[in-house]
Symmetry: C2
DNA sequence: GTCTATAGGGAGATAGAC
DNA sequence: GTCTATCTCCCTATAGAC
């Protein structure tokens, strides 16, 4: 594998460092000086790659969603990997968790630090977030034909809540594997969502 | 109702303003100048009430947990309000959501901004968090006798994930009431948690 | 592509008058 | 209990040398 001279390498390392700092500290607490030090350059040099701090972090957050979308689409592309509806959903849950824990810090940065970013930056990212959420809503509507459709968007929010907060406590090196975690979340979600059919309409 | 001269009133208003700013902006982005302006005083005056920014926010976060604990204990104190296990859990879920949406911004501030605060501050709060989480683990263990006990701590984490992220999307003025939300979350959680008994052991 | 040097602004915190 | 004034520090961002 030939290693060509990659001019974007420095830029990439800045992005990686920014994502890691975001997870640990949030937006405002993360300084360009720290990021530069992590990479081994000076703060001013970052402006050769990005126009501003906001510009840099827009790219980090966007990449965080792209990682999730790519994981989601990789399941879409192989629709015959499993037999049952439950197993199919579990694949998507596993992909989402994989984006959080196995493909760098970008998705983790997005999930933990998005709400610590300035409003203007968030506005630029919201359409991408909406797109990913829409994919999930469509998936659930296509697959859970026996569940009242109007309940699914709310159920998805509960599912996202359970999945995304794993970033606060799950240890990939602990006893429970990501596969095991995906299985547990999926089973609990699917049993729960089916129960909504039996439920009295809400006040 | 006689209105006595209350020397802690100014202090209380600073705390309230700090909690609201925390929800909107996170720890580092919230400045003492802003908080002072919200209250109608100058930044330097805050130091008459608190030793430091960190000191002020420790009190905000602590109060956020106290509100949850008080809501939890108010259910403990009236154990004969309902017949079934499900209804009983629903009362606690409703109390937790009430702390998030109906008793000021303190609990919301804690849930959204805790991880944006400096490490030293977080360390001071962690024992209080642990205490509240322990109450929930005990509650579930006492009440869900038919569920394998080792699964309950994980199930509680899923439940907290679903409850706490409602702060990102739930609108108390919308069509769905807090009672309705509590009912939906509880039903989905309980059906899901019972399904764990049937599940293969995880890898 | 990275450096040094620095401009310009805003943060937390303190001292002392009122 | 609040004010004004100010100290000190660190941030983002820019300019120009190498």
């Amino acid at each position: 594998m030939r290693r060509t001279r990659d001019t974007s390498n420095g830029r990439q390392r800045v992005l990686d460092a920014a994502a890691e700092r975001l997870v640990a500290q949030g937006y405002t607490a993360t300084t360009l000086r720290e990021i530069a030090a992590d990479v081994g350059i000076k703060a001013g040099s970052i402006y050769h790659h990005f126009d501003s701090k906001e510009d840099l972090f827009i790219e980090v957050f966007s990449r965080g969603i792209e990682v999730m979308v790519e994981a989601f689409e990789s399941i879409d592309a192989s629709p015959d990997l499993c037999d049952t509806v439950n197993d199919r959903i579990e694949l998507y849950v596993r992909a989402h968790l994989g984006a959080l824990f196995e493909h760098g810090s970008y998705t983790a940065a997005h999930v933990t630090a998005f709400f610590t970013a300035p409003n203007e930056l968030r506005s630029a990212i919201v359409p991408l977030r909406d797109d990913y959420e829409h994919r999930w809503n469509s998936l659930l509507a296509d697959v859970l034909l026996d569940v009242e459709a109007s309940r699914l968007p709310l159920a998805r929010l509960f599912l996202f809540g359970a999945m995304n907060t794993t970033i606060e406590w799950f240890d990939p090196l602990g006893d429970l594997s990501l596969d095991g975690l995906a299985n547990l979340i999926t089973v609990q979600f699917l049993e729960g969502v089916h129960s909504l059919n039996l439920q009295r309409s809400t006040q």
